[in-house]
Amino acid sequence: MNKEVLNARRLLCPLPVIRTQDKVKQLQVGDQLEVICTDPGVMQDIPAWCRINGHKVLETISADNEYIVILEVG
């Protein structure tokens, strides 16, 4: 199982979702991806994208104007 980090700071939705989608395509089932963003909209959009595409959100964190979504590829 790999753990990867995606820097999506300064991007506004849907770009963090698009970057997440593109990154996930390169990963294997069971891999984890941590997406670090500054657009609070990702707290809604990335989990929604995960639900419709069969991935699992493990954790969401918001601190210091950064929003982090950790997901597991399904």
Binding site: L12, P14, V17, I18, Q21, G41, W49, I52, N65
Partner: protein, 348 residues
């Protein structure tokens, strides 16, 4: 047993594309959604940037629609390819800088490429004859199908019975009799259909989410192109910055982008390496970016405008910090510019 056919639906996030996809799903077709990000279709951006919008997050309607339908959604970044559509629209612009017909052709063409690459059979859109003055008229329906290259692989389930039968109908992949014959701008048939499908929450139709249909945004875009001596190339940062702040152009060679509140100020902070920036140090005030090639005299004028938007607007003198792109800083003293000395023509 017949093979299950596969269709991709252009999902804008509005009601029509949602109903179109659902209509075809009801006939046993496997449907997935596709949404194209041009850089301009960004209803949530201002909301995301501005401080006061943070209490209530705005959902991405295309993701939300896909979730309601229970289908996958593919969001495709077409920012680069879209430039040619915006800069050279074959069919011209709408009321503002919106190249709606060319945009529709472009998106259907992209969908046509996508189905070929992904083994899908046909394309669904939520178009309705007479719904939109530029891109959804009886005369434009065949233009979209022809110029996109989709031809009769393009099915418009909401108005299909008013159009010649497409390949999915002729081949029996979908039953034409179960498609619809909606025309015109009335939303009543769609609302009734939404009720039948049990959709009680959907985005209200309001001209879509495209910033290019907005007069103020379009003015700023035209101004940007003029200032660059009609070089119409742009990048995503240009597109984003036109949405943020107050834009003031005292002269052709430079303009100011003045943050209107804390969230915008924080957003503009991210661009300090790309622009000369200014802020008041003797009084509280907004962050200002200076775009263009200002002379020393121009910078003084920019600083006095910066002072005018801070708490020191009535002071005799305000200290303004000026930061260059290389990070070097200096402070100058200016008298805030009076409102009456700022012609309306400066405001873009």
């Amino acid at each position: 047993m017949s093979m299950q056919r596969k269709a991709v639906a252009l999902i804008s996030g509005g009601l029509d594309s949602m109903l179109a996809a659902k209509t075809v799903m009801e006939q046993g077709v496997h449907v997935e959604g596709i949404n194209f990000f041009t850089g301009f279709c960004v209803e949530g951006h201002t909301h995301a940037i501005r401080e006061r919008g943070k209490a209530k997050l705005k959902r991405n309607n295309s993701l939300w629609v896909a979730e309601q339908l229970g289908i996958k959604l593919h969001i495709v970044d077409v920012i680069e390819d879209y430039k040619n559509v915006l800069i050279n629209p074959r069919h011209g612009y709408g009321a503002h800088m919106n190249p709606c017909l060319d945009c529709k052709i472009f998106m259907v063409k992209k969908a046509r490429q996508w189905i070929a690459e992904n083994g899908f059979d046909f394309i669904i859109t939520g178009e309705v004859i007479g719904q939109r003055p530029m891109s959804q008229r009886k005369a434009t329906m065949p233009i979209v199908a022809r110029e996109s290259g989709a031809d009769d692989l393009l099915l418009r389930p909401l108005c299909a019975r008013n159009l010649p039968a497409t390949l999915p109908e002729r081949e029996g992949w979908v039953d034409r009799e179960k498609l619809h014959a909606i025309t015109g701008r009335s939303r009543k048939p769609q609302m009734e259909m939404a009720e039948q499908f049990g959709f009680d929450d959907y985005a209200q139709p309001a001209g879509g989410c495209c910033f290019l249909t907005d007069a103020s945004y379009s003015s700023k875009l035209v101004d940007l192109w003029k200032a660059r001596e009609d070089n119409k190339d742009y990048d995503l940062d240009d597109v984003m910055l036109l949405k943020v702040g107050r834009h003031i152009r005292p002269q052709q060679n430079f303009k100011l982008i003045v943050a209107r509140e804390e969230g915008e100020g924080r957003f503009l902070q991210g661009y300090k390496k790309d622009f000369i920036s200014m802020n008041s140090v003797s009084h509280s005030g907004p962050l200002v970016l200076v775009d263009g090639s200002p002379s020393a005299e121009d910078l003084y004028l920019a600083a006095s405008i910066t002072a005018r938007y801070g708490q020191g607007r009535d002071a005799e003198q305000v200290d303004i910090n000026i930061m260059s792109k290389d990070g070097s800083e200096r402070t100058i003293q200016v008298k805030p510019l009076l409102a009456e000395n700022m012609p309306q023509a400066w405001f873009i």
